[in-house]
Symmetry: C2
Subunit: 185 residues, 2 copies
């Protein structure tokens, strides 16, 4: 196990730099009115990458999650840069975080963080036909790469370091797609 980072300080921050919160006044079709709050992300979107080392094996990364304060095992992901497509962003994140490029990139679907109160969406991108290529990223440390068999996804569930809904959803989505049981919209 990797030594977790030292937390030197924690302080309140100005949320306006990070995201904006909106109030929305709604009138439902039955006449009921509500004011809901929702968060709007800054930026150009995000991707979650499912990198296939071979037909039966996905590459996971172990990354420190500042939100939960521990290492989390999941899929590589990141925010899109200006004028980047989902496929381009996925390939860049893959090179930065995992050290591979992909010759074949397929957008499977979009996943929401929380439909009720967040506008954030991420594209799930399946990456196949990998080849070694490393790009320098902004990660503070090299990520551990953990190969995992697609037919053993059930062994990931229940692990204390596997908790991200979108990663788990994207893994099952990719498995169903590769088995021919999920057709893209």
């Amino acid at each position: 196990m990797r030594t977790p980072p030292i937390i030197h300080a924690t302080r309140e921050a100005d949320s306006a730099r990070f995201l904006s919160v909106e109030q929305v006044d709604l009138e439902f079709s039955n006449g009921q009115r509500r004011t809901f709050e929702r968060m709007k992300p800054h930026g150009h979107g995000a991707v979650i990458v499912v990198p296939m080392r071979d037909a039966g094996t996905v590459l996971l990364v172990r990354e420190y999650g500042a939100g939960v304060g521990r290492y989390e095992l999941g899929l590589p992901k990141g925010r899109l840069e200006h004028a980047e497509t989902a496929e381009q962003g996925a390939n860049r994140e893959l090179k930065e975080e995992v050290g591979f490029g992909a010759r074949r990139l397929t957008v499977l679907h979009k996943l929401a963080l929380s439909p009720s109160y967040m506008a954030h969406m991420a594209d799930v991108v399946l990456a196949q036909d990998l080849y070694p290529e490393k790009l320098p990223g902004d990660e503070p440390e090299e990520l551990d790469i953990v190969p995992w068999r697609l037919d053993e996804l059930h062994l990931l569930l229940g692990r204390e370091d596997v908790t991200e809904g979108r990663s788990i959803a994207a893994l099952f989505m990719a498995r169903e797609y590769l088995a021919g049981r999920f057709v893209r919209a």
Copy 2:
């Protein structure tokens, strides 16, 4: 299809009421330092409920998501109230949103919203042995209830109104649990 609500107004809101944003100064084991931002939720936690009408059928709800601005098909969920356990909160949400109570409630696992920058966690609660009981909730309209066969989860994937990572993850988690392939930690 239900008529979506009318949006009367949208305005910037004070984020401090809704959530707080923290900055965290970290030093990784290789000496690299970073300042990350993370969101801390208010409140007492949250639950995602997997209500089983019978051994092979889950009850989904269609609810307007103010974050994404459309109806989303997914699992009932909500925030815990003061001094409520996950099981109690799940049963209350089930009665409010679906009109059933459950004689058997099992916490399967915790799911994170975004380990990188959010502290939010929700308990996945499997609800079995249902009986009709309706509690008044704060929902602005009755939710459509949509029964779905567990052996047809793949037909949910790729639908434009099924995008929530945590709902999809919780559904596959429940299916693996009920098939005996997932053992709770």
